[in-house]
Symmetry: C2
């Protein structure tokens, strides 16, 4: 193993040179003008997989962008790791805020600045380089490995679920490893073992067939914008508790151990508030900020639209009012069941003076892997060797829908092993990746394969 | 007087020919592309004033469109009427919904179809023709008359207040007559003796310095869209009563006589609801529909905007949320005092988790003239002679800001004497004016001058 690690240290500069080539391809999946770049990036990813020594590398066509697949399955009896990442990137607007061109990777103060550096090309590359180190130095990997790198993560992974469903035998594995997230903080490597789920809805109310003059008709008809406000106000009490009956029934309470662990994390509430620019934090008083965002469900209004919203004044009673709302869900809430409870409650609180339409937009189950899981523990040891520090075990408040997909379709646990930093602007100008974390991540990935092999 | 009325009957066809010329000028004040047409229409109005025999006719320049002024002051000792109308019109979009071109007046089924037919050229023309009939047949008017026709009514009458303030001696009169409204219903001529006032505000809330990912931060910060809903929900109770403390203190209660009169009006609640396309009417149960829209104050949400409002789903906690709100006011509420009560209350109910900005957009006092006023009674008799039916006395729910301007600046009562119909599409495609009402209106106007002369 020391040979492999030495090889990684020796090749440090070459990795950066190669990564810069990968980052130079503007594979923006959201913009049709970049379709050729996206295709080129898929091919580059496949070529790189071949270069590092993966076998049976292919582009799997989908109704959208191709999924790149590669494997190395020469370790009979050893566990099989499925690695997931993505080669597409976010748009770069507003371009004028970038301090260096987004597709000309530039190093400043030990960080490499480029769109995709952290999300997710840098983290995909980290694993490819770890695989390369094993195959170049030892001629083999201690585990079997299957790699899929998709091209639609930034536009909703629309074709991934179907791909996974259609290719279960090809993707069969013991554990899925995903590096598409951030560590808890600089110098605090972490393993994420739970994500929140999501239930997203659009609510449309109609009061009358057209907008009305508020002078002529005001007082005689329901105002759907006001009714919407009244409905939304009934979704939460003053303390931030969601009032949908049964909403909390399946919420897994935090263990005393988890709460104690999280209290030890280096979290500065004052700085957090200041960074957000919030006059005051809000939420359920009985839970800490980290508990609220990691382990408590939410009800959020994501958008509101009704009536006249331009400059000036227009005296209209809107005919319609719309809200986008979403609930973040925690283990063991189920988005279908929560959807039914929400639907029943909103129908109950909506007055008969308006017509209500509820549209389900999106749903995703919450995910949790016990951190006693042997693969999670193996990842912890790998990170410790790569970063020289014991990782912290934490949850994340967001949702990574593919994690649930793998869990459900393939029935395997996931290890979320991210080396980004929370302030690396994954979806904003001046995206970057810390090169020390990148390098330590390659070592940790190489060790991870060893540690996972040792679990069997 | 019979001579004058006979003259009007004899000239019926000529009036329509001339009105068509007036309606052919596309004097759309909202669209800069029509600036020359607006100017042309001002000049046409002035020329027409000269043709009917008014004196000292002039265009008074303003920072916006000119105000046309004319007078006939040869009746020493008789009352002076100030007539107000406007020569500008609404835009015509969507043009494809017009059954005949908006600026080629077309007669179908006894109605003249054109933009401006009812609002307000047809009604201005009605008075000019009544003046003409007196001057042509009798060589004089029984009253003194001053006419102002402005060109910015459809864009807020921005320069009228200043014009009135600057020209008080020129505009001095005993009563202002305004024909820019509709009668209660077809075959139900009416005198309007009260209008609601207005207090219009924009509310802006800010939660954080930028939009946040609802997964990463949901649960820890206030959501300004939700806070906005909670604030708005506290403005009204379930029964439609406004909860701002002191809001109703100055509301003049309806007299038993008024309520009794209104009950007799031919109002069909079922048809009203059906025409609006509302599943159900709403509002204060202790008041009838007409009482609610004419004599009760309101609190309406005119617009809502926050976060993501496009197609699909975006999991964002909005940084900001905005509402346009307005209150219709009734005698003797004062918009300044109501504004102070509103401001104090909204500050009280807004939590410290968000920043609140309240912007006053517009305000207008409610207006009422007792219908025992001798000029109102004179108008009633004139309408009875013009239309062959006793008019009903009613209020209107909207606001006509100039009415308060005249009342305050000149200290004179107003008579609202409209011959439009509620379904004549004043601001919509296929605007029209019933020609029988137009013709009866000319007779009524001619009689009105006589009746007002008789009050002294």
């Amino acid at each position: 193993m020391q040979d492999v690690v030495d090889f990684i240290h020796t090749n440090r500069d070459r990795y950066i040179t190669e990564l810069k080539q990968y980052l130079a391809i503007p594979s923006i999946s959201a913009l049709p003008a970049h379709a050729a770049d996206v295709k080129k990036c898929a091919e580059w990813t496949a070529d790189e997989m071949r270069r590092v020594g993966l076998q049976n590398v292919k582009l799997v066509e989908t109704p959208g962008n191709p999924i790149v697949y590669g494997e190395w399955l020469q370790a009979p009896g050893a566990p099989t790791i499925l690695f997931y990442g993505h080669y597409d990137v976010q748009p770069v607007d507003p371009l004028e805020l970038w301090e260096s061109p987004p597709f000309e990777a530039t190093i400043r103060d030990g960080e490499i600045y480029a769109r995709g550096a952290a999300d997710d090309k840098g983290q995909v590359f980290m694993h490819l380089k770890a695989i390369e180190a094993h195959l170049k130095k030892a001629g083999k990997l201690p585990v079997n490995i299957k790699v899929i790198v998709e091209g639609e993560e930034e536009v909703g992974s629309n074709n991934l679920d179907e791909f996974v469903r259609q290719n279960k035998p090809m993707l069969a594995a013991d554990v899925v490893v995903i590096s598409d997230s951030a560590m808890f903080d600089r110098g605090v490597p972490s393993i994420c073992y739970s994500l929140r789920g999501l239930a997203y809805y659009q609510i449309d109310l109609r009061g009358t067939k057209s907008d009305l003059h508020s002078g002529v008709f005001g007082g005689a008809v329901a105002n759907p914008a006001m009714v919407l406000a009244q409905i939304l106000a009934q979704m939460k009490d003053r303390g931030g508790r969601i009032k949908i009956p049964g909403f909390y029934d399946d919420v897994r309470e935090l263990s005393a151990e988890e709460r104690a662990e999280w209290k030890k994390l280096p979290f500065n509430e004052k700085k957090y508030k200041k960074d957000l620019g919030a006059p005051k934090l809000a939420g359920e008083k009985e839970y800490s900020v980290l508990e609220r965002v990691w382990a408590r469900p939410t009800f959020e209004v994501n958008g509101l639209l009704s009536g006249f919203t331009g400059d000036g004044a227009k005296t209209v009673i809107p005919a319609v009012a719309m809200a986008k709302i979403s609930m973040r869900l925690v283990p063991d809430q189920n988005p279908d069941k929560i959807g039914q409870l929400f639907d029943a409650y909103i129908r109950k609180v909506t007055p008969s003076t308006v017509e209500l339409k509820v549209t389900r937009m999106h749903g995703g189950k919450p995910w949790i892997t016990e951190y006693s899981n042997p693969y999670v523990q193996a990842a912890g040891r790998a990170i410790e060797q790569g970063f020289g520090r014991t990782p912290v075990f934490c949850r994340e408040g967001g949702s990574i829908p593919v994690v649930s997909t793998f869990q459900e379709e393939l029935g395997i646990p996931a290890v979320l092993f991210g080396v980004g930093l929370p302030d690396e602007n994954a979806h904003a100008p001046n995206e970057r990746l810390d090169l020390t974390n990148f390098h330590n991540g390659i070592v940790a990935s190489a060790v991870l394969y060893q540690e996972i092999a040792a679990t069997k």
